[in-house]
Every structure is written in C-alpha cells, then in structure tokens.
Symmetry: none
Subunit: 201 residues, 4 copies
DNA sequence: TATGAATGAGGGTTCATTCAT
DNA sequence: AATGAATGAACCCTCATTCAT
C-alpha cells in the first residue's frame, strides 16, 4: 500500500500528478470498479510501466487519492476550528458545517463513494476515513467545552458524528428536491446545536 | 433486468432458489465484487448455463436478492405500522425502530452493503431502495397525524428519513463500542420523537 | 500441477490434443522459455480461455507433455524388457539401447531439453524423470540376474544409469561427427555389457 | 555479445566486478531465468543504466560469468596436465578427475546449470563450453601417448569425453545417496583408465 | 431441459532496454 | 560518467456470457 518510489525530479512529479489527476477524472466519470490501470495511464498520457514505477498496484492509486482529499479536508477543518473555538456555539456550528459541505461537494466522488464502493480500501489499515477525522474534531471540541450537557460518551459521539456526516453525505450524493442549500445548512446546524445543548436527554 | 422466465415447475423453482441461496452465502463470505457467476453456479450445484436460463446476467441475481430482502422488510414494516397506527407516538416509534434494526441486522450484507458497493444497482430504475420504502411509511404516518408540528415537507422528510436510516445503518455496519443495543434503541427513538414533536424549529 | 478438468466429450478431447500438439510443435521450433500460453492457444486454433479450462497454468502444459513422452517410453521399455528378459546379455543390451535411442530421438525436445531448460519442472514432485524410469528397469534386471558380478549397489546403479542415459542424451543433442548410428549403438552396448560383466572392479 | 567498452578506469572495473558478483550471487540463489537486469543492478548497488554501459544486454552478463569460470577451469586443468603429463596413467587420471570435480563443485551453478537452462548461450558462437576444453585436453593427452590402444578417433573421443563430463556433472547436480566422494572418484578413475587401456574393443 | 464446451475482451503487472539530465 | 525517468511489448490469467449436444 506504500508508494513504490518517490519522484525526485520535476518531471517525475509531473508524471505522478498526471496519473493522480487522470484517476480522479475517470472516477468522476465512470466510478471505481470499472477503471483500470491501463485506462488511467492512457488518460494521463503516461506509459503503463511508468505508472507502476510509482504505484505498486491499482489499489494504491485510489488510496493516494483518498488520502489526499481526506488530509486536505482535515487540515481545513482544524484550521477553522482553531480560529473559532471560542466563539458562540450558534456561530461555530454553521461555519463548520458549511466548510464540510463544501469540501464534500468538491470531493464527493473520492470521499463519499470510494470507501463505499471499494470495500478493500476500508480494510486497509492505513486508510483513516475522513469521518473519523471529523469525529476527532467534534470530540476535541466537546472536551474544551465542559459547559455542554452533552459529554464525550460513546453514545453521544456516535449520534453526533452520524448526525453530521450522514446528512452531509446524503445531501451531496442524493440531494433532495426542493431543499435549498442554505435551508439545509441552517436546519442541520440548528439540529446539531439543539443536540449539543441536550434538548433530548 | 427481468428474470428470463418464471419458473413454472417445481424443479425450476428449486434451481432458482439454490442459486439465490448460494449467492447470498457467498456475499456474506466475500462481498460482492469478488463473486462471479461461475462461483455462484458452482456453489449452488447448478450448471452455469442453467443459471443463465433464469437470470439474464450477473446483476439480476444481485437485484433479485435485494428485492426480496427489501420487500420482505417493507411488508413487515407495514404490517406493524397498520397495527399500531393509533397508539401513542412514544410507543410507536421504538417498536418501529426495533423492527427495522432487526431486519437490517438479518440482511445487512444485502440491504446495507450491496447498494453501496454495486452502484449500477442503484441506477437500475427497477430497484426501489429499502430506504425509500421506509420514507414512504414515515410520510404516510405523518399524513395520518396532522397534529404533529412537523409536516410532510421535503426538508423534514429528508432529515427524518436520514435520522432513521443512517443511524440504523451505521449501528449495524460500524457498531460503536460501549453502546448497548437497548441503549441505542432508546436514544434513537427519543431523538426521533423529539424531532417529530418539533423540538427544533 | 493437476489438469483442471478432464475432457468428457469428444470435442473437448480434440481441444486438449490440439493444445498439446501445438505446444509440442512450438517447443521444437523455439524452445521452452520463449513460448507462451497465448501463442500455444493461437497455434492450436483454440481460445486462450479454453486452454485455461484444461490447464491451470503454463507449467502444467509442459508437464503433461513430458509425462506423456516419459510414460510412453517407459511402457515400450518394459514391454521389450519382459519379452527378452531371459535372452543372453549380449542380445538384450543392444536391443534395449536401440529402443531407447529411438525414443529419445523422437522426443528429444521434450525428454532431453525440457527438464534442463525449465528447472521448475524438476522441482515439481509429480514429475518422474524418464531417467529414473530407465534406472528402475536396470535395477529390476540386475535383481533378476544374480549371476552378474555387478550388483545393485548405489555406486553401480549410478554409473550404469549414467552410462546409458548420458551417452544416449549426448548422441542425440550434440551428435558427434563421423560416428554412425550403428557404430555408436554397437560400441555403447559393448561398454555396457563389459561394465555389467564387471571388467572394472 | 561483446562487452560494450572495456573499463579503463579503476572505478569502472569495480562497477563491472560488482555487477558480475551480484549476478553470481543471484544465480546461486534463484536460478537463471528468474533473475533480471534490474535485480542484478540493484543487488550490485549500480544504476541500471550504468549496467547497460558495460553490458549491451542481459545475455552478455551471463556469458561473461561463464567465460570466466570456464577459462579459469581450463587454466587449472592445463597447468596440472603439463606438470604430470609424463607420470603413469593410474596416477594421472585420478588427479585430473579430482581437480575437475572440485572445479565443478565450486562453479556448479554457472558451469553446469547455465548452459542447460539458457540455451541461447549455447548458440552463441563465442561461448566455448567447458566440456570442449576438457575434450581438448584429453585429445592432447592421447596424442602424446601413442602407446594407448585407444586412439584419437571420433568415437573414442565421444565416449571418453562423455564418460568424464557426464559423471562429474551428475555427481554434482544430482548426487547419489550412499556414494562417498572418494568412492566415486576412485571408481570413475578406474573406469576411465580401463577404457583408455582398451578393455572393451 | 440440462450440461459440457467454447469464447471475446480485457485486466493487472513485469521486464529489458533507452532517454535525458 | 552516472542517475532518475521513461517506455514498448508482452505475458499470464479471469470472467461474464453463449453455443451445441
């Protein structure tokens, strides 16, 4: 699951990037299971053997794609969280949710469909699902705000994480008719805030 | 996508069933993408050409499997809903949720993983996802209870359906540690009831 | 190393035979390492997938070829040996040697070059080298003729087997100029007889 | 088939040597057909392109290896032969045989397996098989000892050369159980002497 | 009807060798 | 002179599906 060798020269970096880009494009167009290494190489304008100099097998290409999108998202998420960690809850949540929605929209194929459609990836221990990263951020937030009635219990973490991830996921992959983006964001944020404030227990 | 011919004779029925059973078993063991028609036929003790006499292609087998599990679930769901439609909300919801959880647990491979891992199926118009069936039941219920502050608006339907389905789904496929089944059921039901009673708007 | 399935119908037997024949021809023409499954199938006029229905991998094809040539030779050898077992040594040996030479000549590519050039075959435990079969026959003969001064000791077996096999082998693969076939046969037989009679010990 | 350029500098000589050594090691470990140029270069700690600066193709590397082992053996053989050319036959033969056995044992992979397993080498006209070198020495010896009843006829050369080479070869590659080295050497020498003295004609 | 046989199309991967810096 | 990068050509093998008895 490791890359085979790291590109040292500029030319090689370009090759690797074009491979990754090509894979990305093809995934958006055709899904995962139907694309093959040959097709990726062809689209990238790269010899198939070159592809295999940097990626030991097909899976690793997909894995790299996911890793990149997830890490980038986690980075954005954490940056924002750091900045607004001391704001009011009603302000924080919508901002976070909006950022996540945007990121999911930009990388829906990779982040949302890939782990589902290629279950082997999930089994690859090195893959840390983006959802877990979101969960970590939520947990961190809760720990720094002991005033919430909702604590870091397994149950609440489960529901919270799911509340966030599943609604975003579904809004992107299976968008409901007649629900505008802002309407969705507002409502979801409100539900989350209500949950955090413990309107249920 | 239609079955090729309906089995009129007893023997043919048995053949079809053995194919479906074999597919079911293999799916549980190895997932979807890795199982092939030859393997299914072999496991079923049926000649590969016979298999193609009843199923025009690989997809149809999977489709039949899904259809059966979904319809059976919908049937159970509706039966229960009819019986308790006039009970109190706090009684109705946990019963429904429990039934759904049980059904999902029994058919997790088919109902939860298959549509995700085999995206072509989702595109097949004839497949009605079980989630939609759940949505319909919810909608029906809402229509018969105009006293709820939550109405049958697209937004509420979206959140409600998702609340139910995603939590059940995730509880089955990615069970949280340290959250007991009954704890989960209770909490989920409570959240749903709260949502229905409009604790958020 | 087992054949994958046995041909039951006449058609299938023909397919298998044509594969084996094609492989045989190609081996004579080009050697072993350079021929591939695709080439064999093409030459045989058979689809590559059909080939793999009867042979699980490339090696097995070569193996089958060897097995057939070796078994056929062993059979001829034993038939002859049974017939003349009670004749005089000076009569027996030339007949045996001539038979072996003829068999080697007919199957030189398979029997003489294959085991050398494809060392994996030798490691395949199921392959019984033809040379061992010859050795067995020699041993059997010695046991039935206790009057010889040469006994069935490891050392004598080693030399005898080698005397027979290596000279025949080399005569076929690397024929000496100016040594006629009959001259070779006569001389080799004479040496063997001398060795059997113990002109050395 | 020529080396591409002769190494003039010290560093280049070292590079060539490390390539040859690496190839040698790999051959002992894995055989011939399975080792590739990339592997050799990696093991030698040399860039693959550098390798191709000294060897125009894969074959040449193997060829160089053979050439070195064969020439070294021929040299040892001739040195010894010169020294003892006037000794008694019964003394000469065992010494020669022992030297050859030792040399074969030390270079069995190269001298015994390589020409067999890589038939292209044999076809390369520049390769003079070690066996031919042995044959030459035998012939030379016979010419200098006209008192032997065995003359330098094609037939006798064929048998003699084969007697020596094949027994040594087989003893090394396929050692018989329960035949000690010294027993083998003694017996083989005795047979050779007997043959030279014409105990058969 | 049921079964053995056949097949087209592709899919992942490797290797010897050459190019460009 | 030495190295990282690139590549063309294969090769082994599998699978969904159809044919023929």
């Amino acid at each position: 699951m490791e890359r085979r060798k790291l590109p040292r020269q500029q030319r090689a970096k370009a090759t690797v990037d074009s491979i990754l880009d090509a894979a990305n494009d093809l995934i958006r167009e055709k899904g995962f299971s139907s694309i093959g290494t040959g097709e990726i190489a062809a689209r990238a304008g790269v010899n198939i053997a070159s592809l295999y100099q940097y990626f030991p097998n097909r899976e690793t290409i997909l894995f790299s794609l996911y890793e990149e999108a997830a890490n980038q998202g986690a980075h954005k998420l954490n940056s924002l969280a750091m900045k607004i960690v001391h704001d009011e809850l009603e302000t924080v949540v919508p901002k976070i949710i909006k950022l996540l929605l945007t990121h999911y929209e930009e990388h829906s194929a990779i982040l949302l469909r890939m782990l589902h459609e290629v279950p082997e990836l999930r089994r690859a221990t090195r893959v840390v699902p983006f959802e877990k990263m979101i969960g970590s951020t939520i947990r961190l937030y809760l720990q720094q705000h002991p005033e919430f009635r909702i604590k870091d219990t397994p149950r609440h973490m489960f529901f919270l994480e799911n509340l966030v991830v599943s609604n975003l996921t579904r809004y992107v992959t299976d968008p409901p008719p007649n629900v505008s983006r802002s309407e969705f964001l507002t409502h979801l944020s409100r539900v989350i805030v209500a949950y955090l404030k413990g309107s249920f227990s």
